[in-house]
């Protein structure tokens, strides 16, 4: 499972990464978490509002910070 967080590094994007890592820990899962900060790459997903959460190349959330609970649902 490849998890990507799209965002240019503002505090909201960092929050998503943090929430993802907490969710992974709580579910006892391992996955690579990649931060995508380059705008060309972000736009390639068709995303216009960051932060965005992409799992296995599918855009699941864009424009808001998903809570740990939300993320656990996506992972589970």
């Amino acid at each position: 499972m490849i998890i990507k967080v799209l965002g240019s590094g503002c505090s909201n994007c960092k929050k998503v990464v943090a929430n993802v890592e907490v969710a992974l820990t709580e579910l006892n899962l391992e996955a690579s978490v990649e931060k995508v900060e380059n705008f060309k790459d972000i736009m390639a997903y068709g995303v216009m509002s960051t932060p965005a959460l992409v799992i296995d190349e599918k855009v699941l959330v864009s424009g808001r910070i998903p809570s740990v609970e939300d993320i656990k649902k996506f992972l589970g």
């Binding site: 240019s8 705008f39 060309k40 736009m43 390639a44 216009m48 509002s49 960051t50 864009s62």
Partner: protein
């Protein structure tokens, strides 16, 4: 009766009771009045913020940027600028998204001027500032603020569009190809949840600045020298407006805290327009957003954008200074 509830008359009386009977402070004296102001204003703003941000966030969930982009492609000319400005108010996004949004609009062949109408209006008309202005100055001022924010955006966008500055966009922006994603349609329950999340996150972000601002406002309200302020920053001093805008641009501070201070200063004789111009400059021309904009737009266009928006805000400042007497 409705006015009493809506205008927080009940809260005013409640806090007055608290100050006079429980803290045993006289409302006639500075200290009693200041404590009353502080408690009353804090609670009033928190209530207003919660209710209005919830309502506004809920409504905004119907306008994700992807949808805004589709709508804007259908409008040409001045109508495009007007739509861009309206959608700038209604589309939620954090400032780090301004780059993807800019790129998305350019890619959809939305005219540069229209994109700028969106980008200028959007930060100026943010819901928390609106709510706090509502609380501090009432409906007329708050709505006029929205209207002038739109005007600056529309006219600023029109001027930029007329200057044919397409070559001022960084080249790579034109080379980006992205497929549109269908934005997820949340259920009503989810919309409510996201709206609630927004309320909590906004209040979490600004409560400290707000309390500090209200505290300073309470001090000014009760102890600042009226004549001095009127002399140097009153509505009849056009120079003060320009100084206010120049001061606002590099200010990193959270604008929410400045509004209660502005309210108190205005009560002491500082021109309404002067204070508003300062606040608008803080938001619309904030250094972080300009830094971000530099990634997609070249220096010449950045300079023009700052100049036009700055002048627009100064003019709005003069307008509010003249109208000030009729509004508050």
């Amino acid at each position: 009766m409705f006015g009493y509830i809506f205008n927080f008359g009940w809260l005013n009386d409640l806090v007055r009771f608290l100050v006079e009977n429980i803290f045993k402070l006289s409302m006639e004296k500075h200290i009693g009045s200041a404590v009353h102001f502080f408690i009353y204003d804090t609670i009033k703003i928190l209530i207003l913020l919660s209710v209005m941000i919830f309502a506004i966030s809920y409504a905004r969930s119907f306008f994700p940027p992807e949808k805004t982009k589709k709508i804007l492609t259908k409008f040409q000319g001045v109508k495009g600028n007007i739509m861009g400005s309206i959608l700038g108010i209604v589309t939620p996004f954090c400032s780090c998204s301004s780059v993807p949004i800019f790129i998305g609009f350019v890619e959809a062949h939305i005219p540069l001027g229209v994109t700028f109408s969106f980008l200028i209006t959007s930060p100026m008309v943010n819901e928390a500032a609106f709510v706090i202005l509502l609380s501090a100055f009432g409906f007329k001022v708050a709505f006029l603020y929205v209207l002038t924010g739109m005007l600056v955006g529309i006219i600023g966008g029109m001027i930029i569009g007329a200057m044919k500055l397409e070559n001022q966009v960084q080249e790579y922006v034109y080379e980006i190809k992205s497929h549109g994603i269908e934005s997820y349609q949340p259920t009503n329950r989810e919309r409510a949840k996201y709206a609630l999340d927004d309320v909590i996150s906004i209040i979490k972000k600004i409560w400290l600045y707000l309390i500090i601002g209200i505290a300073i406002g309470a001090l000014i309200h009760n102890w600042a020298p009226e004549d001095l302020l009127t002399k140097y920053a009153g509505p009849n001093n056009p120079f003060a407006v320009i100084v206010g805008v120049i001061f606002g641009i590099p200010l990193y501070a959270n604008v929410m805290g400045t509004i209660p201070i502005a309210q108190a200063l205005i009560a002491k004789g500082v021109g309404l327009g002067t204070a508003l111009a300062f606040m608008m400059a803080t938001i619309a021309l904030s250094v972080p957003s300009i830094i971000l904009l530099k990634k997609v737009v070249k220096q010449k266009l950045i300079n023009i954008f700052v100049l036009i928006t700055g002048i627009g805000i100064i003019l709005v400042g003069y307008l509010f200074n003249i109208l000030g007497g009729f509004l508050i």
